[in-house]
């Protein structure tokens, strides 16, 4: 082999080696860039994008007069980009030092960091924001998150319920109307770089959150306060374990107040024990005792079995009923009576007479009357966890069941069922569906849904109802309900004292003492049920413990002039929530629409300020205010003609000048 041929062969080998290398590199390029490209692209896209949730603001809860019961407060975190803030470092440190009371050096040190993001204050009260001129400080980042806030501490805690840490309703109204209150979270897709910094992506539109709707309850907070206060007094006086007050509007079925003792505070709902968290008016069964005589009386009168004057022998307090083939049942009265008219028997609440009357009525009719009053059926008042109660069918009855039922044993009812039944009497025999959800309203105050009073059925004829009213009025005038009497006001009512059924037997000395009544009898406006658990003071009967509470409440309600007003048409708008665009993504400066400005939007006589609103929202606001918006451009409203605050006329044209969001968010107005 010649020298040059060796050399040429070796050169050829080198060239082949290099060409093979080219081939390998190109093959790899084909694999990565063509064959597997899609896979890598997806992985890459994922690391470029970050989806940030813009939380929807949970709707507020109002009482019937528009008073805010639950709303949101803002927790604010403040951060800075030291590079952008470099010129203002001293003034920022000064401002923060003044507001938060930490030494200037603390902030200066943070602001002189090399990082592009430093926290200055985390999770502080949103009110601090008012003191900082956010839009004039370059490089300041404001992050806000809503926190549920209940304004009325102990009031109606079980009724309102609470939300969990994710702002989802988990109890009470918050749970019952979670779907309406929650809204829909929005999101913004960010482009992210390798350092984790993000900026809004131009490829994906920002999805604004849809804020939750407000819920207006039929509850009147003033009545609620009165009920809770008087219940508490009564319970303390009678050394009871707990109690319930229900106030109903009999003509409509609106629940005006639902008080429960021990009360709880929705702001720290979870700290209370489970038994106290329940809204017992709908979740707990009790044996109604004499309150259930409404069924006995209704059935007897409706079917003409008795007249008020018909006399019955009360057996001097003890009456043994012999059941077919079984052991007898001893029925006792609290006091010994001889002959009583039906009216008198009701007034003194004679169990023996009621048992005798029930024999006249018969099982079928008695059962049907019970069902017609709504016993054994959930009222669907609008609360989670409502139970339907226990009302056995006649085929399941024993020989003495009918007699027991006639004075309210062997039946389980909820307090709300009792209140609703008496409301039917007050409403001339028409049973109304009780409700607490009066209206759902959108963020701007427009009504989305409104409850209408709902008739269920005519339980008794109007004449029977009138007779019953007289009967129950007599109970208060002359009978066991006398402690409820208020001079000059016609009050009808019924007492109930039932032994508590605990662990399979009736405990002597453990009573549920109750009173239910309505007034004024000539045109009933309020049904009020008062129940006490196990009063251990000197008194234990419904008449002596609960009836005085009823009276105390009624006395105050008579002075409560708003009582008979319908639910207020809302002009009232939540202003405790921050508009969604004020939940800023990182590094984007946003400003806050002040409450005043928002509120101004709803004054009909002047032009609202819609600058800073999205076009869609501005149009909504103006349309609601009966203006005629003319849109110029798209995105966010940057100016409007004529300007806000000027006197307005209906149908006035308002020209909106808009710019795309990215621009307007950076130009503070």
């Amino acid at each position: 082999m010649s020298i040059s041929s060796t050399s040429r062969t070796r050169l050829r080998l080198l060239q082949i080696a290099i060409l093979i290398l080219f081939g390998v590199v190109i093959a790899r390029l084909v694999q990565i860039q063509i064959l597997d490209s899609q896979k890598y692209r997806e992985i890459a896209q994922r690391q470029y994008q970050a989806k940030i949730v813009l939380p929807a603001i949970r709707g507020s809860i109002y009482d019937r007069n528009g008073i805010v019961i639950a709303s949101n407060s803002m927790i604010v975190s403040l951060a800075a980009d030291p590079m952008l803030a470099s010129e203002d470092v001293r003034s920022i440190a000064n401002t923060f030092s003044k507001i938060f009371g930490k030494p200037k050096q603390y902030y200066l040190q943070k602001l002189h960091s090399d990082s592009r993001f430093v926290w200055l204050e985390r999770k502080v009260n949103g009110n601090f924001l008012r003191k900082i001129n956010v839009k004039h400080i370059e490089g300041l980042v404001v992050l806000q998150e809503p926190k549920r806030l209940y304004y009325h501490e102990q009031l109606a805690g079980q009724l309102i319920g609470c939300t969990d840490i994710d702002n989802k309703g988990i109890a009470g109204v918050e749970l019952a109307f979670d779907a309406q209150l929650r809204g829909k979270d929005g999101y913004v897709v960010f482009q992210r770089d390798g350092l984790g910094r993000a900026r809004p992506s131009v490829d994906y539109p920002r999805q604004d959150p849809i804020n939750g709707h407000g819920i207006v309850l039929t509850i009147d907070l003033n009545l609620q306060a009165i009920a809770e206060k008087e219940l508490k007094k009564g319970i303390e006086k009678n050394k009871a374990e707990g109690g319930i007050v229900i106030l109903l509007q009999p003509k409509t079925g609106e629940v005006l107040a639902l008080a429960q003792y021990p009360s709880i505070n929705s702001n720290d709902f979870g700290d209370y024990n489970l038994a106290d968290q329940k809204l017992r008016a709908v979740t707990d069964l009790f044996e109604p005792g004499s309150l259930f005589k409404i069924v006995t009386a209704s059935a007897a009168l409706e079917h003409d079995m008795v007249t008020l004057q018909k006399e019955f022998f009360a057996e001097n307090g003890v009456y043994v009923v012999s059941a077919a083939g079984g052991k007898g049942r001893k029925i006792t009265d609290m006091h010994k009576y001889g002959w009583l008219t039906f009216q008198e028997a009701m007034e003194v609440s004679s169990n023996i007479v009621m048992a005798k009357v029930s024999d006249l009525i018969g099982s079928e009719r008695f059962y049907r009357m019970s069902r017609n009053y709504g016993f054994g059926v959930a009222t669907n008042v609008g609360f989670p966890g409502e139970v339907k109660g226990v009302l056995k069918k006649p085929v399941e009855w024993s020989g003495t069941t009918l007699n027991s039922l006639s004075f309210g044993y062997e039946v389980g009812v909820t307090p709300i069922q009792i209140a609703v039944a008496y409301a039917a009497v007050a409403n001339n025999g028409m049973l109304m569906k009780p409700y607490i959800f009066a209206r759902e309203q959108a963020a701007m105050g427009q009504t989305v849904w409104e409850a209408q009073p709902e008739k269920i059925r005519n339980v008794i004829s109007e004449s029977t109802a009138q007779t019953l009213k007289g009967l129950f009025e007599g109970v208060v005038e002359r009978g066991t309900g006398a402690p409820a009497k208020i001079p000059g006001v016609r009050i009808a009512g019924k007492t109930g004292t039932s032994r508590k059924y605990i662990e399979g037997r009736y405990e002597t000395g453990t009573y549920t003492a109750s009173f239910v009544g309505f007034f004024p009898v000539e045109d009933p406006q309020i049904v009020c049920l008062v129940m006490m658990d196990n009063p251990r003071g000197d008194n234990y009967t419904g008449g002596t413990t609960s009836a005085p509470v009823f009276r105390a409440i009624a006395e105050q309600l008579l002075n409560y002039i708003h009582l008979f007003k319908p639910i207020a048409p809302m002009a009232h708008v939540s202003n405790n929530s921050i508009p969604e665009r004020d939940l800023p993504p990182k590094n984007v400066h946003r400003y806050r629409i002040t409450e005043e400005k928002k509120a101004r939007a709803f004054e009909a006589h002047s032009i609202p300020d819609v600058r800073g609103y999205s076009v869609r929202r501005a149009i909504t606001v103006l349309t609601v205010g009966k203006f005629q918006p003319i849109v110029n451009g798209s995105g966010t409203v940057v100016s409007q003609i004529p300007t806000a605050g000027q006197p307005a006329t209906e149908g006035m044209k308002i020209t909106l000048v808009c710019q795309p969001k990215a621009v307007s968010t950076l130009t503070a107005r």
Binding site: S7, L14, L29, R41, I43, Y48, G194
Partner: protein, 388 residues
């Protein structure tokens, strides 16, 4: 006996190199802007620096092109001695970057002596091979002296420590020795003697060991090698046609060294498979023309030089591309003419200048060819070209 370069240079090599350099301006700018903005406060800082280096490279290339390569033959030994001197000074005084001393600085100008060492050593080997001729097959008189210089320079570079550069210098040197008709037994002996040294060296530093283990394990690069994984994502994200010039997302701090060692990944992302293929074809063109120049070189030294320069440039490009694609373990080798980095740019460009000078002294591109083809219209001019 020296021929003056009165013929044309290989214009395709020049065009290929200039194209790479000009494209690199756009790519380095795109790849570096975010980094420069964030870290240096000026998005164009790296671009300007790179443009200066490209200009210096072009200048160096044209100067080298004008120098008759034969004059280099007498300078090679001196260059290697200077190189050794530089490398030793670097080891003692060099500026540290990331724990390694690869830089020699004069005031604010710095360069990597190893880049110079590479060409100085290769050139010297070319000269030795050319002058020794048959003597190279003699172990003592031919092989050992070459291995002395190779070993010495390689060792100094590796001590910096710059393993990849040392390995490349060694590889290219051995290629020259191989092509210089050294006995295979000698080369095998040298290789066998070196293996334990290399392995010991590889495992001596944690980061080298880790890289090697990662590569050998063949596992998902995502977990163990963030940089490589991000580089591959860049290629994949580019797909067939790329995301478009200046649209790279990987440069946004996902891919470290996106404008230097991993610049090819950004090419792949922004210009897609089309772009990477174009770059590969340019290097393929340089290789083809380079070996063609070698073939037609007028003397052994020129031939050796042409082979050395062509091999150095194409192998560097291929190994850099291979690293970014995960074919080779991750090392810090730049892609010639494309990566940001002054030493590589200037010395590679100068080497291409030498190659072009060689090309001008071949008979490939005679100035008078046109006349020759057309016939002897002006015979006086036809004699200018050397037509046999």
């Amino acid at each position: 006996m020296f021929k003056t370069h009165h013929n044309h240079i290989d214009i395709l090599v020049l065009i290929a190199v200039l194209t790479l350099m000009l494209l690199s301006l756009g790519i380095v700018y795109s790849a570096s802007a975010s980094y420069a903005q964030a870290r240096l406060g000026d998005s164009e800082r790296v671009l300007i620096s790179h443009a200066v280096k490209v200009s210096l490279g072009i200048l160096g290339m044209f100067i080298a092109m004008q120098i008759d390569y034969h004059r280099l033959q007498r300078l090679t030994k001196f260059s290697v001695i200077v190189t050794v001197g530089f490398l030793m000074i670097t080891l003692i005084l060099g500026g540290e970057t990331k724990g390694v001393t690869r830089w020699l600085r004069f005031s604010n100008l710095g360069f990597q002596p190893s880049e110079f060492a590479k060409y100085a050593l290769l050139f010297h080997l070319c000269a030795l091979i050319a002058t020794k001729g048959e003597l190279i097959q003699d172990f003592k008189k031919g092989f050992l002296p070459m291995m002395f210089w190779i070993g010495f320079v390689t060792m100094l570079v590796m001590l910096q420590p710059n393993f990849s550069m040392g390995a490349m210098i060694f590889l290219l040197s051995m290629v020259m020795v191989f092509l210089g008709r050294a006995r295979l037994s000698h080369i095998t002996l040298a290789a066998v003697a070196l293996i334990p040294v290399l392995i010991a060296y590889m495992l001596s530093a944690d980061y080298r060991r880790e890289r090697v283990m990662t590569f050998l394990s063949g596992g998902s690069p995502a977990k163990s090698n963030y940089q490589l994984w991000q580089g591959i994502l860049a290629f994949g994200n580019g797909g067939m046609f790329g995301v478009g010039p200046g649209e790279s997302k990987q440069r946004e701090f996902f891919l470290p060294e996106s404008y230097s060692d991993f610049v090819f990944s950004i090419v792949g992302e922004e210009y897609g498979f089309i772009g990477t293929m174009f770059f590969m074809l340019l290097f393929l063109l340089i290789m083809y023309r380079g070996f063609r120049i070698a073939k037609y070189a007028g003397d052994p030294f020129g031939r050796n030089l042409a082979i050395a320069i062509t091999s150095a440039v194409t192998l560097y490009a291929l190994i850099n591309a291979g690293v970014t694609l995960g074919i080779f373990p991750t090392t810090g080798l730049p892609m010639p003419f494309v990566s940001y980095g002054g030493s590589s740019m200037v010395f590679s460009a100068c080497a291409i200048g030498v190659l072009l000078n060689i090309s001008s002294q071949t008979d490939l591109y005679p100035r008078a060819r046109q006349i020759e083809v057309l016939g002897s219209i002006q015979p006086s001019e036809a004699t200018v070209g050397k037509v046999y």
